[in-house]
Symmetry: C2
Subunit: 418 residues, 2 copies
């Protein structure tokens, strides 16, 4: 544990969320308080900005704008999907990172992201340890997917879950408005873990949810899906709402959306990202039962609808950034900030602790199978109890002209990029 | 002009909106104040409930729940799409309506909807006049499409416009997050009038909008679209956001989404409703330029996202219901409540007046062509000035468990339906 004096670098990585900038705000505002931190840099596009010496002097930003970052969605610094090579095969990037760190006397490094980003963070940390360069490195968690290992939940999940539950309640009212049968299939993000799709059950808890919920944790059978929908239609005047994770797979592990792509227009779907599954499944129901259908994707909205962020999530994301700085300044390194649920007072409270980076890197946490009930179509009360505290309260940007006033950063270049 | 004593019937019709229930609340709460109104009935599924004697006694509802209707999306009574036959061809429905009105002594009738619904309202009004049955009939406007003739704007538009502008601002930040080219095509409702798609320009006014906006008022050429996108990509590091109305048509008046359906999988798209256009156009860009693409539909969310309703819209929708009752009670009939913009004080104010129903029925108001600029890809400041006052302020349901607490009506049956 070392008390270091030098610059701080912070980068955002992976898919953005509604509250990823809240963590950045936490890091920047806390970092500016510590005399040992001589400069605060924000990397443009994460690790890419580091390799290219493309970063901003966050010390030059107005505090007011940094506070507005708490309610500004997406990654204000720019994000990246970049996987560091295994050091045994190619150490070019690692040497370059060391070079940049030395050049700017970087002694604090924070990386904000999900599984892949924690892998990057872990690799850099282990490399710098191996070469004896003193730098305190802390991972800051972030992912709407909520699948990081060892933490009760992840910043970003609560707001996405709140978006999904709120929007589903509204859609439920809309989809039932006519005196005719109608089937709505709603596609929700989550490639391997079904936490987000499970959030649909929160709307059901309020009486306005989905009739069927399918998570990627359980093999998906198209024939069973058709029968499930039929059963609900028969009991509900031809109406049914089904929520399906984009990542559902058949029993052989093949993505269902790929099954459709094979049969029909392979060029049309799944070639750039997942998506399109809802339309395919809705179409199938239409062909089978001749009922009116609608395929709905929550698409990018579920990860950037900051106007519907959970106040709990915003606060925890901000605190994750603050805690990261406090830990690093107190000499901690090679760790990720994690959340623990404290119910000892009878109500929900979040406690922060540190997890070794290597434990988190590349490990996925899925929805417990015992929480998935009704033959793989619903969530138990365990999930409701788990998720409900995470979606409490509203916290959004102030209005200007009736629209959100998001942070406007100066982004003063502090590296070499023009 | 007659001062009548008897029951009031109110029905909701056509596609629901975020604030259609606010108008219902205005009608019910105002109606309960007037001694000449002996009963207040809410029709289940509009005209269908009238024909089937399926309606609720709104006098039995708690005032608190009626007030919550102001922030409850979709049609709480149920909606319908039912076109009355021309009376010269078939007067069955008309006779049945008269029969029901006589049975329950209905002397006040209000119908809430868009063009088609005003046509229905007009037909019933003219029939009752022709047979000499005294009943004061007032149309209450409603449509996110904003295409009703003779009124400055329509209840429902402001909230949908606010959803579109806010969501586009959030998506703009998300779509630019990586240091790579990406094209997002966003599909917005509006079969013939482009008001909603034009609302994308409000996000642009705040610096976070679309690069290209295509309205159905201007013929759409797929080749020009591809070139427009390329031009924007070239100037913006491969990035482009395009908003397209679902109702864009080629120069021969054929829907673009149908062009795609012909070429490819006709079974897949456009057979139940519009939609799917964004995916098709995004796919086309991907094939042409090999860039990463995303097709996004705002889908039903744009008409039911009550959590993002405009306070101005909620208030005006409520007032439209109140004004309808006041007009009818004072002896007016055969009219629709309409809005006039009063800028005499230097700031926006809405005034209410009455328009003859026959002037409104089946007439569409489109976006003025002179407001559509940049070779059919943008809106002028005229539109911003027009729309901005309509999206001001927030007004949403209170939270319960972190989720909206929508109205819960008792729906006490007052007709004959079990």
């Amino acid at each position: 544990m070392k008390n270091l004096k030098g610059a701080l670098m912070f980068g955002q990585s992976g898919g953005p969320t509604s509250v990823i900038n809240a963590s950045a705000a936490g890091v920047f505002l806390e970092a500016r308080k510590h005399p040992n931190i001589t400069a605060v840099y924000g990397l443009a596009h994460g690790i890419k900005g580091l390799l290219e010496e493309d970063f901003y002097d966050m010390g030059k930003e107005d505090e007011k704008e940094l506070l507005l970052m708490k309610n500004t969605p997406s990654s204000s610094l720019g994000s990246v999907r970049y996987k560091l090579a295994n050091i045994d095969k190619d150490d070019t990037d690692y040497k370059r990172i060391l070079e940049v760190f030395k050049k700017y006397n970087v002694r604090y490094f924070f990386y904000n992201g999900g599984n892949d980003s924690m892998d990057t963070c872990n690799k850099i940390s282990k490399y710098l340890l191996s070469v004896g360069y003193d730098c305190n490195i802390i991972g800051v968690p972030k992912t709407i997917d909520n699948d990081l290992y060892g933490t009760d939940h992840c910043p970003g999940f609560g707001s996405a879950a709140k978006y999904i539950a709120t929007t589903l309640m509204e859609l439920n009212l809309d989809a039932k408005v006519y005196d005719k049968g109608q089937v709505a299939v709603i596609e929700i993000m989550g490639r391997n873990a079904g936490w987000l799709t499970a959030a649909a059950s929160l709307a059901g808890y309020k009486g306005l949810g989905a009739d069927l919920i399918y998570l990627p944790e359980v093999p998906f059978c198209v024939d069973k899906f058709k029968k499930d929908v039929k059963r609900v239609m028969d009991a509900n005047k031809g109406k049914c709402i089904a929520c399906v994770s984009e990542g559902v797979r058949n029993k052989d592990g093949k993505l269902i959306v790929e099954e459709f792509s094979d049969e029909k227009s392979k060029d049309h779907f799944g070639h750039t990202q997942l998506g399109g599954l809802a339309i395919h499944l809705a179409d199938l129901i239409n062909q089978e039962y001749g009922v009116k259908v609608r395929g709905i994707e929550f698409n990018l909205m579920q990860r950037c609808a900051a106007h519907l962020a959970s106040a709990v999530d915003v606060e925890e994301a901000f605190n994750a950034g603050v805690e990261a700085v406090k830990a690093a300044v107190s000499g901690k390194s090679d760790m990720m900030v994690a959340f623990e649920r404290d119910m000892s007072s009878g109500s929900y409270k979040c406690k922060y602790f540190l997890l070794p980076l290597e434990k988190v890197a590349n490990t996925e946490q899925k929805v417990p199978l015992e929480w998935i009930i009704n033959n793989g179509t619903a969530l138990s009360q365990d999930f409701i109890d788990y998720a409900l505290p995470l979606i409490q309260g509203d916290c959004k940007a102030p209005l200007e002209d009736g629209l959100p006033r998001f942070a406007r950063l100066k982004k003063v270049q502090a590296g070499i990029k023009k």
